[in-house]
Each structure stands twice: as C-alpha cells, then as structure tokens.
C-alpha cells in the first residue's frame, strides 16, 4: 500500500501482471532500460529482463504488427505508443486487424492485447504531442477504449485491460500523470471495463467527463457547491463501450447535463453521449445538453495551448447557462 501517482500506478499494474502472467510482455520504443519517456515502465526491464520488457526498433506500424502477431499466438502483449501523436502508423493494424481477428476467424484467433498511449495537452510539449483523438478509436467496432483519470483507476483498469480477451486501447492523460498521489493497494484487483465512475454525488446537474478534464470538472463542482448548486460528477472512464445506463440514470435524477472533454467538439465522444441522451433521456431533461470541449482547431503549440483547453471558467459558464433554463 502506498501513495503513488497515475503514471506510477500504470507501472505498478504492469509490474503486477508481468509477475503473475508469463504470457504478458511489454514492448515499445524506449520502454526497456530507460523505462519509457514518461517512466511508465521504469525499472521493469531491470526486474523482468529484456525478454519481457522489450525495446523495439523505432517503427510504430511494426510495433502494432508485432503486438498483433504475438497476441494471435496466445501472448498478452502490452505495447506503448510513445505519444498518441505517433499512433497513426498503427491505425491500419488496430482497425483492420486487432479489432477484427476474432470476428474474421469466428473466434479461432483473437487479439488479447493492450496499446497504451499518453495523450492530451497541457504539458508544453512539441507539435503532435498534445492531441486528444480518442473518438477516432471509439468509432471502431471490436475495440475497447479506456481512459483512467486517477492512480487507483489507472491501476485497476490497466489490469482489466491486460486480462481482457480482446484488444484494448488504453489512453493515459499525461497532464495528470503526476498531478495527485493516491493510495493504491497492489492487490491485483481489476476494475470493470464497462462502467462509469460516479466521483461526486449531486442533485441539480450531471457533469460528464473523462481523462484529465476530471480535474477541472471536480474543481468546477466545488465552486458550484459554493453557489448552492449540487453537481454530480461522472468519470466515463470506458469510452468504448460507454456505460450509458449510469449516465441516463444520473440525468433522470438531475434533469440537466453538461459534457466536458478536452477533445475537439465535432463528431466526438461528447457528441455520442449527447445523442444518446437525446434518444433515451429527452423527457428527463429540463434543459438542452451542453458540451464544453476543445475548439475544432488544430491543437495549438504551447503559447496558446491553455486557451484551447476547457477551463473551470468555461465549465461554470456552461453550467450556469443550463441552470438558467427553467
């Protein structure tokens, strides 16, 4: 039991699974002796050897291809895409193969693999290092997409992702990699891959978010409490499949909803949640659903990065707008 950060929780989960399942291997660029550019695999090569924690040549399509090839033969590879901005060469493999092997072969071959990728803005990184494109993957049938937002959820969800018999894209919000420390019990207990987490109970409005935006959303909820508005905060956590039951249940109670995401607005996960509420919860709603998102622009370099990101202020503006509808 120890107080650890989100990135340390990733490392702890990898270590636990490497220790308890010989089929698990970790592979990627710089994941070996260096322990990964964010140190998510720190110490693992030293502990488990370079046959279990494998430094690969610098070729993302190859990493994805190797990962799939290993998974089809019964291994449980956990690959790292160094940054989500470098995941694009992997997409052909993820979409055309990882997501399809079970279906294509009627269950004869499957892909029990995980591809981890740090994503999102806010750390003053160079170009191509700050995008949030989870929606691209959430659109793909046959793929699970998971985004942890706290150390304990990172630990439990990553364990579940590795053990899941199907491919999981595990997106790590790097802005909150080291933001908070939390007590994580290293007991190998996994969390479900198809459930939202209710982070704060409330009566007046439902705030739905995931990833690094959980931070701003909780801060906004604190401010709202001071105004006398009781906000329920839900961390979606599993972007595909989404636990719509919990979301609908909450909206049924509060009658109001704001969705907060770092990603751009158009055709996003927030769009899907809003559409689902329109289809299923229209008569529970007392006001239109509102989305607080990144703008539909190229993610700016870091001088304007902060202006792109949804802020507590923008969340409060949206909530107040929604609360005003009577």
């Amino acid at each position: 039991m120890s107080n650890i950060t989100l990135v340390e929780a990733v490392s702890l989960a990898l270590s636990y699974e490497l220790e308890h399942d010989n089929d698990v291997v970790v592979l990627g660029e710089d994941v070996g002796i260096n322990g990964g550019v964010f140190r998510a695999t720190s110490g693992l090569a030293q502990k488990f050897g370079e046959d279990r924690v494998i430094d690969t040549p610098l070729a993302e399509a190859m990493i994805a291809g190797l990962t799939i090839g290993m998974a089809t033969q019964g291994m449980k590879p956990v690959a790292e895409a160094q940054f989500m901005g470098f995941i694009y060469p992997m997409i052909e493999h993820i979409v055309c193969h990882a997501a399809r092997f079970r279906n294509r072969t009627r269950g004869r071959l499957s892909c029990p693999l995980v591809i981890r990728a740090p994503f999102g803005g806010g750390i003053h990184a160079p170009e191509h290092h700050s995008e949030s494109v989870e929606a691209i993957f959430a659109h793909i049938p046959g793929l699970r997409v998971v985004i942890p937002s706290s150390p304990s959820r990172a630990y439990g969800l990553l364990l579940a992702a590795i053990r899941d018999p199907d491919p999981v894209l595990f997106l790590e919000p790097k802005r909150i990699y080291r933001l908070v420390k939390e007590e994580v019990i290293n007991d190998g207990e996994e969390l479900p891959l198809d459930m939202c987490f209710e982070l704060r109970e409330g009566q007046d409005i439902t705030l739905i978010t995931w990833g690094s935006m959980v931070k701003e959303t909780l801060e906004a909820a604190d401010k709202l409490a001071q105004q006398g508005i009781s906000a329920e905060v839900i961390d979606v956590a599993t972007i595909s499949p989404i636990d719509f039951d919990t979301i609908q249940e909450s909206v049924k109670k509060t009658g109001r909803c704001v969705i907060i995401q770092e990603a751009a607005k158009h055709c996003s996960v927030g769009s899907e949640i809003a559409a689902n509420l329109a289809e299923n919860s229209l008569y529970s709603l007392m006001a239109p659903v509102k989305r607080v998102t990144g703008y539909d622009v190229i993610m700016p370099l870091f001088k304007l990065e902060k202006k792109y990101m949804p802020s507590v202020e923008r969340i409060l503006m949206a909530v107040n707008e929604v609360m005003e509808v009577s």
Binding site: A59, G69, R102
Partner: protein
C-alpha cells in the same frame, strides 16, 4: 576509400522450363518421385480448383475471387516445406500453400462467397486468415515469430508478399524486425510481375526485390518461382536455418500472374497478350510434368485419371460450399468480443427481432 560491406543475390533454379535438371548440387527431393508426384497432384488440383472458382464467379455463384493461376509451384513448394506447427501468414491467393496445410477448397469458396466461416478453416488453427490489406501480414508473422522465440518453441512463421507489396512499409519493417530480433521466419516475395496493372519495373529500380532483405542483413536470394524443386528446397533450407536460431531469410520467387488480378480485373486493358503467351512457356505445371514423364514417373493415363479425380473433388467441394448452413444474422455480433457489451447486445436483439419478423411474414 574502402568497401565496408558488399552483397550479392544468388538466383536458384534446379528444374529448367524444359523440365531438365540444371546445376551441380541437385537437392534430394528431385529424386524423391513419390513426393514429387504428390506435390504435382496438389499443383494440378489447385489449378483445377482455380478454374472452377472463376467459373463460379462468372455465373454469379461466388463473389470477387483472386486467382492463383501460374503460382502453383511457389505456393505448393512453400506449403510442402512447412511443418504443421509453423505458422503461415498469407496474403489472399496462396491457396496452394493452404491446401498443403489442410485448408479445404470449400472453405476458400466460403470466404470469397462472403462468409466469414471460411476463415475458421480446417488448416492449422494457429495459421493466419487471408489478409487483404497489403503487407500487414508480414509484421504479424514477425510478431508470431517473436512469440516463438520468447517461448523457445522450435517453430517458424512463413509470410508472403507480392512484388507490389514489397514497396510497402510493413514489408520493410518486418524485414527490420526479423533482423533486429533475429526471428525464426521466412519472407517470400512472390514476384508475379504485376501489382494489378502496375508492372514490376515501376515498383522499384532495384535489380532484384530480394535485395530489400539485405538492408536487414538477412540472407536474401532469388529462386525460379515456377520451379517446384527450387522453391520447396530453398524454403525448407530457410526454415531449418530459422529453426536452428540462425534468423530469417528473404526469398524472391519469380513467377508470373497468368490470370487477371481478380475476377473484377481485366488485364487485357494494360497487359500485352504476347507477354502472357510467352509466360505460358515457363509455367510451373508443364515443366514438372515433363520432368516426371522424362523419368518414366508419369503417363498420359495417370494424367487423365488425375484430371478426373481433381474434377470430382472440386465438384464435391462446390457442393459442400453451396450446402453451407444459413448464416444467422446474429453471427455478425457474436464474434465481436469474447463477451458482448451491453449496447451491442441490444443491437443484436433488434437485428434478431427484425429477422424473426421477416421470417414470420414469409410463413
């Protein structure tokens, strides 16, 4: 100036287009007539099957089909060199390899007939299914080989790529992976001269495609892909070397695509007839039959009997294909995940209810 490295690419042929043995070190299989006859039979069977598949497509009984006409030696040569426990990662026309490995003709037809069950075939359960996106099978094969290496299993992977596909990143990345990890695998470039309408010379100005393997320091050779003996022997040697921990080999097999790219293609739009007519002189079945006959191992009577047998087997396969059970609508949902997510279960139920409603209406 100093030369820091130099390379060469050997070309290997044992059976000439006229059916004569050439060269000095003739491999043992050249005199193993029992085996050669059996492989010859598989080659002929593959060709008879191929012709039937095309006619099924032409008469609306099969979807688009990729013909293997002219590739029989390279396919059967590879397939017969592999062990059951090895893994084959195909592209989409290597039926000859797959027949050697137990895939049924009816299963090939099922796949091209629009039915996923074809890829749940009777061949080794660890073999990869057909792979339509070009070259991705090569990195999958590398991954499978890496898993064998890590588990210290004496198994290898064999993967193929075309002359067109050799231009793709995944093929080159697979070579690099095979090199970096010293993988037990064999990559066979099936150079049939054409990538749909684009000829080999437009893919690369390199003298050979085999030399792409040299970039990874892999033994890289060219073989006459219409020479069953050469393909079988060289793939077998490469597999033995891989199994002994000596790493991967790249083999460029020179053959010719005697048919269209697929049944949706019309090669006469871009390829001169004379080129095809000329290529027929070098085709693989003719020369092996000549060799067997010259050695008194094959006769016209045997040939006639074989053709009749092949025809009967192919007809039986077509019957099996056509009598496949109806595909339930729920099948498109049932293999998406090991366990169906909640929202998908709802869509499955909707599709099922709609189906039942339609079926009820028909009664």
């Amino acid at each position: 100036m100093a030369t820091v490295a130099s390379f060469n690419v050997d070309y290997i042929q044992y059976l000439s287009p006229t059916g004569d043995l050439v060269g000095n070190s003739i491999p043992a299989i050249a005199k193993d007539f029992k085996k050669l006859k059996s492989l010859y039979e598989t080659m002929v069977m593959t060709r008879v099957f191929d012709a039937k598949a095309i006619s099924l497509q032409r008469t609306g009984k099969l979807g688009t089909y990729a013909s293997s006409l002219g590739h029989e030696a390279v396919h059967v040569g590879m397939g017969s060199a592999m062990r059951y426990e090895d893994v084959f990662a195909p592209s989409y026309r290597e039926y000859g390899v797959q027949f050697c490995r137990g895939v049924k003709m009816s299963e090939v037809l099922l796949y091209w007939g629009g039915d996923e069950r074809g890829s749940n075939f009777s061949g080794p359960p660890h073999d990869f299914p057909w792979c339509v996106p070009i070259a991705t099978q090569n990195t999958h094969a590398a991954g499978a080989a890496l898993s064998f290496k890590l588990r210290k299993e004496p198994r290898c992977t064999v993967s193929v790529i075309g002359d067109g596909g050799s231009s793709k990143g995944d093929f080159l990345e697979a070579i690099n992976a095979a090199s970096a990890f010293k993988l037990p695998m064999v990559l066979v470039i099936i150079n049939n001269g054409w990538a749909i309408s684009v000829p080999r010379k437009k893919q690369s100005k390199g003298q050979t495609l085999a030399q792409k393997g040299i970039s990874g320091g892999l033994p890289s050779i060219q073989v006459d892909g219409n020479d069953l003996i050469a393909v079988h022997h060289e793939v077998k040697q490469a597999l033995e070397s891989a199994r002994n921990g000596e790493g991967a080999t790249v083999i460029e097999a020179i053959t010719y695509r005697l048919g269209d790219h697929t049944t949706a293609d019309d090669a006469s739009r871009y390829r001169p007839d004379e080129e095809v007519e000329n290529a027929k002189k070098y085709e693989p079945i003719l020369r092996l039959r000549q060799y067997l006959m010259d050695n008194k191992q094959w006769s016209v009577q045997q040939e006639n009997k074989l053709m009749e047998e092949c025809s009967n087997k192919v007809e039986a396969a077509v019957k099996e294909y056509q009598s496949a059970s109806k595909l339930p609508v729920t099948d498109m949902f049932d293999y998406m995940f090991a366990e169906l997510p909640h929202d998908l279960a709802e869509q499955r139920q909707f599709a099922l209810d709609l189906e039942n409603k339609h079926n009820g209406a028909h009664k």
